[in-house]
């Protein structure tokens, strides 16, 4: 590879993180450390019912008995759970009743992030729940959705306004003791989004949550719960950014999806947490549990993720295919630059008959980045005629990065059809030369090739996010003609 090509690859790997600013707001925060009093305090601040406090405490007590998982191909110094503040919220006089009452400093933050919250300026066709550190600060288009019977609000509001629904579904997909980070989240989760789409309703707009970490030495532990009743459908987007800091910050979220008969949920993520600097200082530790339950027959859950941020990513959005004829999909682009490490993939658990799953994973490694795909396809004994197709491709930019694939298959029914394809390739010198011979600069050539590599996944993203994802890979709009 020539010096110019190398430089183009390095420039690509050296892109500036544009969201690294800090918002100057006064925050109300809980002192560092974790114990039952802290959990009681969080619960009290949110005015929670007793059952939820008990639920948290039970999770906490269980967490104390667990050890942090170390099976992932990730290397990081131990996390001091007593050095984190578990709650930080911008100080507000009262709960803002409308977006006009939200601290202008916070509104400006979201403007800067490209997520205007004032509805006249808001992205057309996208309702946003804005989570700032530990609290939701605003939710747009709430009333419009409400007219259709769709509940879309912060998790705290859902606990207050719709306690029965929350109680019915909370922990039904990711139980409090599911894993170390899920247990921690269950104990200390502060806010997040809640969405309930009633029977037969197709949500007419994209719903979205934008997570922003602002406060120092805090963790963000949000919880998202989406329920689509019989025949309902919803498309949900999630975006995340954080300030540039030299210390690592912990983000341990839980997302639960439930789809009943003939319901469909499409969940898309563009994860752009601060990734740390070139030497690997700072950045978000992203330990996230995301799981969907296709509870009903012919239900469908589709995960699409574009993971470009975080120092550490540990994340396996999964589907439990319980209903007969249900289907699960996982489309992923994971990029690791500098010293970033990602261990990500999915689990497709086939339980019902005639269940289908598709896994498309694209890993891109640059700089010293380490990128692992880890997946499980399990076909339970009763899952007659289950089918899975998996494709895991890795692209290496440069010669100091790594790509790894850990596919696991567990087939317990002989009627299953399971296909797995995998490839690892270095960005081709011949491809770069071909593009340059046609007049493209090395930078444009790299962008073109990487974008082409990710095309299959970008196609799954809603338009607004596809554009953002392509920008994230600094790519001009591909496919406008082709």
């Amino acid at each position: 590879m020539s010096e110019t090509d190398k430089r183009a690859l390095e420039d690509m790997a050296r892109q500036e993180y544009p969201y690294g600013f800090v918002t100057p707001v006064e925050e109300d925060r809980v002192a560092k450390g974790l114990n039952e009093d802290v959990i009681r305090l969080i619960s009290a601040k949110k005015g929670e019912p007793d059952w939820l406090l008990e639920w948290r405490l039970k999770a906490y007590r269980h967490w104390l008995t667990m050890t942090e998982p170390r099976w992932a191909r990730l290397c990081y110094s131990p996390i001091d759970y007593q050095a984190i503040s578990y709650y930080a919220a911008p100080r507000m006089n009262a709960r803002p009743k409308s977006i006009e009452e939200v601290d202008p400093e916070i509104l400006r933050t979201y403007d800067k992030l490209g997520i205007p919250l004032a509805e006249r300026a808001a992205l057309a066709g996208v309702a946003v729940d804005a989570v700032f550190d530990s609290v939701s600060v605003a939710t747009t288009f709430k009333d419009k959705l409400r007219q259709m019977g769709i509940l879309f609000c912060s998790f705290s509001e859902a606990v207050r306004e719709h306690p029965d629904l929350v109680r019915k579904w909370l922990g039904s997909v990711v139980p409090p003791g599911d894993n170390f980070f899920a247990a921690l989240n269950s104990a200390v989760f502060s806010d997040g989004s809640f969405c309930h789409v009633p029977r037969g309703v197709r949500c007419p707009m994209e719903l979205s949550t934008y997570f922003r970490i602002n406060a120092k030495e805090t963790g963000q532990f949000e919880r998202t719960l989406i329920v689509a009743e019989e025949g309902a459908s919803v498309s949900y987007l999630e975006g995340c950014t954080a300030p540039r800091r030299d210390e690592n910050q912990l983000h341990a979220a839980v997302v639960e999806l439930v789809a009943l008969d003939d319901a469909s949920i499409k969940y898309s993520t563009v994860q752009n947490w601060y990734p740390g600097d070139r030497e690997g200082r700072g950045g978000i530790f992203n330990f996230v549990t995301k799981r969907g339950r296709c509870k009903g027959a012919r239900s469908r859950i589709s995960w699409t993720q574009v993971e470009t941020g975080s120092a550490i990513t540990w994340k396996y959005p999964s589907c439990i295919l319980q209903g007969d004829g249900s289907s699960g999909e996982f489309y992923s682009v994971a990029v690791t630059n500098h010293r970033q490490q990602a261990d990500t993939g999915t689990k497709m658990i086939h339980i019902g008959k005639d269940t289908r799953s598709t896994i498309i994973s694209k890993g891109i490694s640059a700089g010293f980045g380490q990128n692992s795909y880890r997946g499980l396809v399990r076909i339970a004994p009763g899952a007659e005629n289950a089918r899975n197709y998996s494709q895991c491709d890795s692209l290496l930019l440069g010669d100091r990065c790594g790509a790894h694939t850990f596919p696991n298959l567990d087939v317990q029914n002989p009627t299953a059809q399971v296909e797995h394809e995998a490839s690892t390739s270095r960005i081709g010198e011949d491809q770069l030369f071909y593009c340059r011979q046609r007049g493209l600069s090395p930078e444009d050539a790299v962008n073109l090739i990487v974008n082409g590599f990710c095309k299959r996944v970008f196609k799954e993203l809603p338009m607004e996010f596809a554009v953002e994802a392509q920008k994230l890979l600094s790519v001009s709009l591909e496919g406008s003609v082709g």
Binding site: F433, Q437, R438, G439, S441, D444, F453, G479
Partner: protein
């Protein structure tokens, strides 16, 4: 248009071109013929600026400019086009999108306005018809899953869209059946013009039945050992390269 003087170049450490001199003027079509290993493809790659081919002596001027000082993309934007012997696949990148990006990079360099999607599509469809490329190939990823003949025709399509000043065709006839060869030859003939020069690099004479060159050169062991008109190609066809190799063996 193209002045090559005593060009010496190697692939890695191995010297391949050993003092090659060639003049190509606008409007001319030249054929460079030679046996395997004579340096044909090295010449094509050195002209296009590929890495791994080190120039150790001589000079190349393209329209009066020092070609060897330019990056591959600068050469392309200045109007040098290489039709690849083995066209490269770029998965996920639409053929027409790729070509639009390339054309606009070239147009920008020449101070022309970039074409929008609609204008480009009109142009592309017209050019595609002229080289008999099925429209569905325009929307497929670049060369991915194309047959050998489709790949070569796609190179000719790219040439037709980019309208280079100098086109170097590296074994564009290899691997083509007679029908495909005719289509490719028609495409090349359509590109002939007073302002444009074409250099065809080929092992066999058969392409020259369809694209009649103004000059034919024989490349042997890194040098042009014979030059002549189109009848030289026929002579080579009759006698093979062996006789020439024998004749020039003493010079090595």
């Amino acid at each position: 248009m193209l002045e090559i003087r005593d060009l010496m170049a190697g692939a890695g450490d191995k010297p391949v071109l050993k003092g090659l001199t060639l003049d190509v003027r606008a409007g001319e079509v030249h054929a460079i013929m030679g046996p395997n290993g004579s340096g044909k493809s090295t010449l094509a790659h050195v002209l296009a600026g590929r890495d791994g081919f080190a120039v150790t002596g001589g000079s190349v001027r393209f329209e009066g400019k020092d070609l060897l000082a330019m990056s591959p993309e600068e050469r392309a934007r200045e109007g040098l086009f290489l039709a690849f012997q083995y066209p490269v696949e770029i998965p996920g990148v639409g053929n027409s999108y790729f070509l639009k990006s390339a054309l606009n990079a070239v147009r920008k360099h020449r101070g022309l306005p970039e074409l929008d999607a609609h204008e480009f599509l009109q142009l592309l469809k017209q050019k595609a018809r002229s080289v008999q490329i099925a429209e569905n190939l325009l929307n497929r990823p670049v060369n991915e899953g194309f047959s050998g003949g489709e790949k070569k025709r796609n190179e000719i399509l790219q040439m037709a869209v980019l309208e280079p000043r100098l086109a170097v065709l590296d074994e564009t006839d290899s691997g083509l059946d007679i029908d495909a060869l005719r289509v490719v030859a028609d495409g090349i003939n359509a590109m002939r013009s007073k302002e444009r020069a074409i250099v065809m690099i080929t092992h066999y004479q058969r392409l020259l039945d369809y694209v009649v060159p103004d000059r034919v050169h024989v490349l042997l062991d890194g040098r042009l050992v014979r030059s002549g008109g189109k009848e030289l190609a026929l002579e080579l066809e009759r006698q093979g390269y062996a006789a020439l190799e024998k004749e020039f063996a003493g010079n090595r």
